[in-house]
């Protein structure tokens, strides 16, 4: 047996793929949930009703002040306690990521909403559209169009951050690879492989975002 044996990767490919599935599913669901919740938070944040705005601002500042790893850890114990039953690692980290990411998405979306000229909102209201209709049909579509590259970039960061589920032992891509690495004593091969996969996915995604950005500017 030589110093390096990359066969360990191919031998365990199905197991690694399953880990990658968990990583991607967690990224996609947390991104979706985070954007939905973040949109509501952003609208609450800019509300003229002071109570609503202050509650939203407090939520955003609270989560932005905590380390992600703490939130994951904390929710791992908190979520089953609140629900009164065990929910499994995946759902507890999904809740943690969704609530955490929502705070960041909210700030991005808020910037998007404020970038839409106020005259657009006025024109919508002048036609008799309600506040909610004006947001839904006029302001938010323009805000999301402008913010898509930033939202996607935040998604790439989220993709990398999901590896922090390591602390609660959820079998994502990184943890799956680490299990095999330890079992077969192939730490360098495995972690090199993991690094390359993360690099390829993140780099091509961010290149995709750049391409999109350039097409939008034309």
């Amino acid at each position: 047996m030589g110093a390096f044996d990359f066969a360990v990767i191919f031998d365990n490919l199905p197991f690694l793929m399953k880990g990658m599935q968990t990583t991607l599913l967690l990224t996609a669901l947390a991104m979706f949930g985070g954007i939905v919740l973040g949109t509501l938070l952003a609208m609450a944040r800019i509300s003229s009703i002071t109570v609503v705005s202050v509650v939203a601002a407090s939520y955003i500042n609270f989560f932005r002040s905590l380390p992600l790893i703490l939130v994951i850890f904390w929710f791992y114990f908190l979520v089953p306690l609140v629900l009164g039953q065990p929910v499994g690692g995946f759902y507890s980290v999904l809740v943690a990521f969704t609530l955490f990411e929502a705070a960041y998405y909210a700030e991005i979306i808020r910037a998007g909403i404020t970038s839409v000229r106020s005259g657009q909102f006025q024109a919508a209201r002048a036609l008799g559209l309600s506040y909610a209709q004006s947001m839904r049909f006029i302001v938010l579509p323009q805000a999301f169009r402008a913010m898509t590259p930033v939202l996607l970039t935040q998604g790439i960061i989220l993709f990398q951050d999901t590896s922090l589920v390591y602390v609660v032992g959820l079998k994502d891509f990184l943890v799956s690879a680490e299990l095999i690495a330890n079992r077969d004593q192939r730490l360098i091969e495995m972690f090199t492989f993991v690094a390359i996969v993360y690099l390829i996915i993140s780099y091509s995604a961010s290149q995709g975002v750049r391409l999109l950005q350039r097409r939008m500017q034309r």
């Binding site: 000229r117 005259g119 657009q120 006025q122 024109a123 919508a124 209201r125 002048a126 036609l127 008799g128 559209l129 309600s130 209709q133 049909f137 006029i138 579509p141 323009q142 169009r145």
Partner: protein, 242 residues
């Protein structure tokens, strides 16, 4: 049709409207003019409640705009408004711009809103631009679409807030032509503008504002031939002498 009774409005400590009282009768065309910062745009935006007032009363068809019991969305649907910067919705096609509020506010069917949109585009001379997006149109064309968008709601009155100020000179007339036609058809109009030619041609009355006050409120020929206040004389000499 529209009445203003002792309307006052403040931006912080600054009083933008001071005891403004006037009216616009049905089928009347009233032009509001005055130096910039005189409060004329603010006055017109109070009519549909885009700008709230602090005291006084504004009514449209006997409905009080500031009354809490008034359904503002319902009232606004019947008050057309055209903005200085057009404010067409850039993510919607010309046709969708004209159809959206018809369907979402008036609950018209898709075929009704489509028919109405096509008819109005024909009327403003843009039937061949229906599927374009606002960014593909010239300023004059955009403003004509904005007028069509307002008319699609079958308004009882049309408000114009400096509709030609953001236009290149060669495009001003195509917009004014549509407005003149509208006035001649009997539309009730309140128009904030510096286009004194337009005022002379179609306005029944001219309101002159300065520093938040209505300084003159006269029949058009009287206003131009014999303005009473020095401020109006000064304004007219500056705007007409070149």
């Amino acid at each position: 049709m529209i009445t203003f009774e002792n309307v006052n409005k403040f931006y912080g400590d600054f009083q933008v409207l001071k005891e403004c009282s006037t009216h616009v009768n049905a089928q009347e065309v009233v032009v509001v003019c005055g130096p910039s910062g005189s409060g004329k745009s603010t006055l017109i935006k109070c009519v549909n409640g885009l700008e709230p007032i602090h005291s006084g009363k504004i009514t449209v068809n006997d409905v009080s705009v500031g009354d809490k019991a008034t359904d503002l969305n319902k009232l606004r649907a019947r008050i057309g408004m055209v903005f200085q910067n057009f404010e067409l919705f850039p993510h919607l096609s010309v046709l969708q711009n004209i159809r959206l509020a018809q369907e979402k506010v008036l609950n018209r069917s898709q075929s009704d809103s489509l028919d109405r949109a096509h008819a109005l585009l024909e009327r403003v001379g843009l039937s061949n631009q229906a599927d374009k997006f606002p960014s593909q149109l010239s300023g004059g064309q955009q403003q004509r679409v904005a007028i069509a968008r307002g008319l699609a709601m079958d308004p009882v009155v049309m408000l114009f807030d400096e509709p030609t100020s953001a236009l290149d000179p060669e495009m001003i007339n195509e917009v004014l032509d549509v407005m003149v036609q509208l006035a001649q058809e009997g539309m009730t109009m309140m128009v904030v503008t510096h286009e004194m030619g337009f005022a002379k041609r179609v306005a029944d009355r001219v309101i002159f504002m300065d520093e938040g006050q209505i300084v003159e409120d006269e029949k058009t020929d009287v206003f131009f031939s014999n303005p009473r206040s020095d401020r109006a004389k000064d304004f007219l000499s500056k705007i007409l002498n070149h």
